[in-house]
């Protein structure tokens, strides 16, 4: 195998992988949850930060995972297969919180990362969040309708 052919093969495989990978992204959100899902030390509008607040152990987990397997078929291109392992944070929140009027969720940590591996060619990308329930003794729901509908709390009609 000549060095020139080897270099061409590597370039071809790399090109195939990059073409298969595209320009996608994954996103963690909880915009349809019916309760505050808080990140940081401030619990409410006008509240003072509580940096020393000891949070309960996380009991709610949500995340977005995407794993892409790529089989290079040089020189014609690449076959790829994408698997998703997603637990929407808003669904997890709606399921975990029994009374959204008197409970919040406090996000303890959000971890994100990506790595790629050769042989087999794998691109792994993830965002994970862990949260704990926090009681709000004086909590009340607003008079306006909640943004969520349906048994899961997720409004499917919104884009």
């Amino acid at each position: 195998m000549s060095p020139r052919w080897t270099a061409a093969a590597i370039a071809g495989v790399t090109g195939a992988v990059l073409a298969a990978a595209g320009c996608t992204s994954i996103t963690l959100r909880a915009s349809e949850a019916r309760t505050p899902v808080l990140l940081g030390p401030v619990a409410c509008i006008g509240c003072a930060p509580e940096p020393g607040r000891v949070a309960a152990p996380p009991t709610v987990a949500g995340g977005v995972h995407e794993r892409e397997y790529v089989i290079a078929t040089f020189p014609s291109g690449a076959l790829d297969r994408i698997t998703d392992d997603t637990v929407p944070l808003d669904v997890a929140a709606t399921t975990a919180v029994a009374d959204p009027c008197r409970e919040d969720l406090r996000v303890a940590a959000v971890h994100a990362g990506t790595w790629s591996f050769h042989e087999p060619l794998i691109a792994n990308t993830w965002i994970d969040a862990q949260a704990s329930r926090a009681a709000v003794p004086n909590g009340v729901c607003g008079v306006a309708p909640w943004p969520s509908v349906g048994p899961t709390g997720i409004d499917k009609r919104r884009p």
Partner: protein
């Protein structure tokens, strides 16, 4: 003769390097010093405990923050390992005369694929990987609240 004998070893080494190549990065997102409430959902409370949603909140700005931590040693070590968005929150919410950030969303794109997938060289522990993190949200104020700084 010696170089001819070493050629298969070099080829095997290259093959193993290609086979074992692995690069990436990881990061923890925090907001430990934020002075405003930050919510992944569209709901946030006031001091009375009343929950406000999109019907009683007005969007006054868009929050955005972006960072690309670099990873080394097969993503075991990332710099920075923690991305604290507190400064961005405090500055952007104050400049928009907002009271909170809602609908927070954290995205990771595959814009680092070139680096993470780079053949042969990504087998080296010193070869960098990266993870592009973008954080967005809506800066809001209660509909019936006046801007304090105006």
């Amino acid at each position: 003769m010696k170089s001819a004998a070493l050629a298969p070893m070099a080829a095997l080494g290259a093959l193993l390097a290609c086979a074992c190549g692995c690069a990436g990065a990881r990061v923890t997102v925090r907001a430990d010093n934020a002075r405003y409430p930050v919510s992944f959902s569209g709901v946030v409370r006031d001091t009375t405990g009343r929950a406000h949603n999109r019907h009683s909140l007005t969007k006054v700005g868009a929050f955005s923050a972006h960072r690309t931590p670099v990873g080394l040693a097969y993503s075991a070590l990332s710099v920075p390992s923690t991305y604290d968005i507190s400064d961005e929150i405090n500055v952007q919410v104050a400049s928009s005369c907002g009271e909170a950030v809602v609908n927070l969303a954290i995205s990771v794109s595959n814009a680092c694929t070139v680096l993470n997938f780079f053949p042969l060289l990504n087998a080296l522990p010193s070869w960098p990987g990266c993870v592009p993190v973008t954080i967005t949200g809506d800066i809001v104020r209660r509909t019936d609240a006046a801007c304090q700084s105006q």
